[in-house]
Subunit: 295 residues, 2 copies
Amino acid sequence: MGNYGATFRTFRKNKGYTLKQVASGIVSISFLSKFERGDSDISFSVMVQLLDRMMVTYEEFYFLHNAGKSNAIEEFFTQAQKAYVLRDGPTINRLKKQALEDYQRTNHIPFHCNALLLEVYRSMIELDLPQLDHEASQQLTNYLFDIEVWGYYELSLYNSTLFLLEPESVIVFTELIVNKSESIKKLPLLHNVLIRILLNTITYLTGGQDPHFAYEEECKTFMKYLKNSDIPEEDMYGRIGYMQAQAYIDVRLGNIDKGEFALKKSISMYEELGAHKLAQHSLNYMKIILSNHRN
Amino acid sequence: MGNYGATFRTFRKNKGYTLKQVASGIVSISFLSKFERGDSDISFSVMVQLLDRMMVTYEEFYFLHNAGKSNAIEEFFTQAQKAYVLRDGPTINRLKKQALEDYQRTNHIPFHCNALLLEVYRSMIELDLPQLDHEASQQLTNYLFDIEVWGYYELSLYNSTLFLLEPESVIVFTELIVNKSESIKKLPLLHNVLIRILLNTITYLTGGQDPHFAYEEECKTFMKYLKNSDIPEEDMYGRIGYMQAQAYIDVRLGNIDKGEFALKKSISMYEELGAHKLAQHSLNYMKIILSNHRN
DNA sequence: TTGTTAATTCCACTATATGACAATTTGGAA
DNA sequence: TTCCAAATTGTCATATAGTGGAATTAACAA
């Protein structure tokens, strides 16, 4: 039953409402009291109205109820990525075990995907190279192929794993997503992930060591799409990413100086704004890509 | 009853799940079918579990169900602000009428606040000056004084109106919020608004024409707080805002050149990243503040 | 303190959310 | 097509969401 009532009462009291004020026109006062005391569950539609009435966002409500956790999806990706960045093998293994348990219990494919994602992370940590567990990545690819509608979960899953898939697959998926993007762009939450996906795709496709740049066409198409797809003015992080993506392409096309100039500019922006980790990360990557392709 | 079932079914079908896969362990298959067909409402706690199971965010669900609208709170502020920016009087009046109706029907104070916000916007549009309807702003101040817990709605309301309140009130409110910020900072949604509030506060307090800068202490305190409060590295927009806030303070303290330099740098960043509206807006404001305080 | 009013809880009752299982429809494979 | 298994819907019994109003408690002024 979840005992959401207690959390609800906390909000109501905090905001200084009486039962009557919140309930009137939606439910009876007596029932709302009963719900708050944990003596009854409540309908979804009623709850939606009540939260609206109190001017409380679902997100806030969920957050307080779950003692500082965001929704399960977000929580999963955040935890996994954090553990990966910190090279925290034990946590990865714990999360993976959990995902597999969930999968066996429910036979629910997304849990399997979560486990795959973690398996891929694990193998990358152990080898300390972005080299992937081939079987896991193949299974992931299969799952992604079956997706018809790309929601927040699917987009995030793809965005977290695209560096581990075959470049050819990445091109297919990103194109596929771009074709469905009219609906994605309507919801800022999704639009944002879409932009990251495009930027990551370009970064990935320009990242090879082969002196021949095989994905020029695709990268240019994606850049053009990004240009027309309205990165919000306020999304300066996305805009810097765009600048860098263009620079990676320039480097691959032999315009080393132009690319280097833009990359240095982006890094100096990070520095000037005190985003030192981002600056460091970009600098490291710039060194690699330049040393791969200079002369 | 809301007929959430149909939306739910859309998601389930889109994601390729069967009733059994989604329902098992949470509700009976037959009931879920009934719910989807609109023959029954569903408990809140059950719905939360089902959405989780399908890896669907509440936000996505709400958005699809309401044909492309975000939650009511966000929707309100977005609409109001957009109408204000566009100087769209008729829309403001329509929204205000709606808010007053809601207020009379429910006697629910936030509706009154929404109406006040709109009244203030209206009077500002008519005079084409940030001069406020005094009574409305007084009522708003009273409401804000009574707030004990600052949630997303309260913070957004304050952030949208602080330029219209007495500077002394703004100092009090912002200090008050800062004191409660440990909990606010835990939820990114709220943390983000908190950062905007601090930046707007400093912008406002440094914005006077009086050659004597009366709020030096307060501004420095807020800047210090901002510095320690971890603007996320990825929030480049916030970081540029921080740079500009520091510049406004410098200008008011007589370090005109230093301030101007920083402002020009921030504007050139906007330009280089193609954020022309933000650049234009910052440029206009820089000209005003410099002409007010140079010599 | 006492009295008074508003806010909440209790209780008896009704409406409806939910489950078990049978009946029907759907979607392929042969 | 026909058949079969899986997916969905219908039926009915029951648990529980939800109501109205009386009883209780909280808030607070005199």
